[in-house]
Amino acid sequence: MTRWLLPIALGGALALAALVAVGLVARDGSGDAAGRADALARELRCPDCQGLSVADSPTESAREIRRQIDDLVADGLSDDEVRAHFVARYGEWILLAPTSPLAWIAPFAVVVSAGLGLGAWLWRSRRNVGAAAPVGGVSADERRRLHEEAEALDG
């Protein structure tokens, strides 16, 4: 019976994960004027603080930029046009997230290639172990049985 329970649970979990992913994408795509202005304020740097966004910073200049964002959004500018407006005035520095694709790809490239490398290493050593003769006169089956007993004792 338990054989088909896990696939069902897995299916449910995957469906839920998909729902979360769809929710994340949908949230980024749309939004009313206030929501868009909020999101933009989180992307722009407060000019006179240490790395806080306009949305988070309490300073006067941050609130001034916040008012400008509200005005620009009300004037019908797109998100990219609002960003371009502030980059023209303050430079790239005003954006809290760098625009270069390399800046976004590098960390994931490192994690994924390290993960793949480890996976390949594990896969290869598994095959080597499988091909090898029983270690110290103990067969693979016996090792597994011993192992499961040790696990059970271990709690």
Binding site: R42, P58, E92, I94, P107, F108, V111, R126, G155
Partner: protein, 669 residues
Amino acid sequence: MIPTIGHASVLLGLGLTAYAVVAFVLSARARDDRLLVSARRAVYGSFAAAAIGCAAMMISLLTHDFSVLYVAENNATTTPPFISVISLWAALEGSILFWALLATGWASLVLWRDRDRHRALIPWAGATLAAINLFFFAVMIWPGNPFALTAPVASEGSGPNALLQNHPFMALHPPLLYLGYTGLAIPFAFGVAALVTRRFDEEWLRTVRRWTLVPWIFLTLGIVAGAWWSYEVLGWGGYWAWDPVENAALLPWLTATGFVHSAMVAERRGGLKIWTAALVIATFVLTLVGTFLTRSGIVASVHSFTQSAIGPWFLAAIVLALGGALSLLVWRLPVLVGGGRPSATVSRESAFLFNNVLFLGLTFAVLFGTLLPLLVASTSGDTISVGAPWFNTVTVPIFVALLFLMGIGPALPWGAASWSTVSRRFTVPLFAAVIVALAALLLGLREPISLGTLGLAIFVGGVMLDEVVRGARARAGATDEAPPTAAWRLATRNRRRYGGYTVHLGVLVMAVAVAVSSGLAVDRTVTLSPGESAEIGGYEVTHDRLVVERLASDPRVIESRAEVTYRGAQSGTLGTALRDYPNSQAAIATPAVRTSLGEDLYVTLLAFDQASGEVTLHLFVNPLVVWIWIGGAIVGIGAGFAAWPERRARAAPITERAARPAAAPVEGL
């Protein structure tokens, strides 16, 4: 007189640590232990010297001795005694003095505790620790002298950094963090010792694991206390801004956490020696990098309140530590290669190894993001920013993957996992996660990140609970103990495993709290005249009056305070203020936080008009934030439980060693 004593004690510390380095190295070859004993005593002496130095500085601060430059710059006659005492770490020179106290303290502790153990390792570990301490004493003699004098002596000092005066947490957060930082020199020292003596054995691993876990606890608590301080003091309603100094504390934490996990695989299966040594080295070097980045003024940060000439010194120390340790590693490479390999792709050890990939990936991401503005500026001259939007997007997927591994890793058996084990252990938690998430969805939780994290947390927690219950039941069946007794005995006999589960539970609590508080927080900015009200997240907030007055405890500080009544899930009154300090250009916000288990009401005063009494308030309702601090405490308790010395090991170390070979064949599987 007092400053002279202080300076003399620093010189004494320098001399004693220099002697200790030489004596330890010589004692490695000597048959006679007297040299080793004298080197150890020199380290105890350097701790006493640092303590006298710190005491001299505290007395100078408490007596407002403005002939000392540090006191003149960080103290005033009106500074309250408590603030004077904690001003020891208010700025660079004092911080280094305090740092030296903790570093020599750790070195003394480890040498005293292991005085009868590891005869081969101790000389080299001691020499490394003494050399690190020598560096800090040297910094205090040359570029960062805390007892430098100034003339003419002013009658009034400029007072401590305004941000440091605003909250008692300043007494807690830096010492915890420094205890973590300085303690992580111990695993590094043992790593160097093992590389020199080629003793990368199980005993080494156990020693280093414990001496990593203890500073790790302090580093964890220091980071959480720092986040809490930031939340209570800075007034922006958040607790983590990906500030370079926050990142600097996180980096060694990530590698140390990776080490704690990989050490378990290394202990079980042997092997992974290069990796283990590299993690230990990286952790220590990253503590230096953090100090260098923030204290040299090379990156801007809330913490870079002082910029000074110590930058090149730290850079030299980093190059020396990294270069020296790596050369040692390469030199010993022939001894280190080889050892056990995991026998299956799906097993607990491979889960640990993937965990290491993720921790190191996070380390790379955080380091890359912190240094990117610097790299771009030095190559193309452009100034760019890398802030919260980048860090959140890049690190959240990795954190989620770690959380997932945290659930499946401990439930996978060592060696190889069969399909039946996997399905037996994961089916019920997976169902529970799906059902709880669906229920939350139906109850109205629509925010995707909160929903996803909640489901994941239920799954991970369910797997863990099943592990604990299964173990307790097996023991209760075998021993006739009542299940709670059985569970407790099981836990105290497997401290690492159950301590680890407790740490994971704390992490789960923090993860849910972070996801929910960042996803479901509401905030709005309102301008209110006296008597007017505003609504926020089920609260009605009424501005009663504006009060402008001098602080009773420090009359140089003017406080402008909005007195507010709030009604809702919590009711009462609060005062939220802006304080004008004579040595700070901007007024410092003193937010009011009303905490409950469900949510915090957080009110910051942004601006006020004294004539009309009108105030602009930033109102937040942040759900579950208190659970981040509670989760942090659970992590600390769990790690403390795991690091607690086991009775058996302490009472009879010899029997344990004798018993080990018999157990090894089973463990090695």
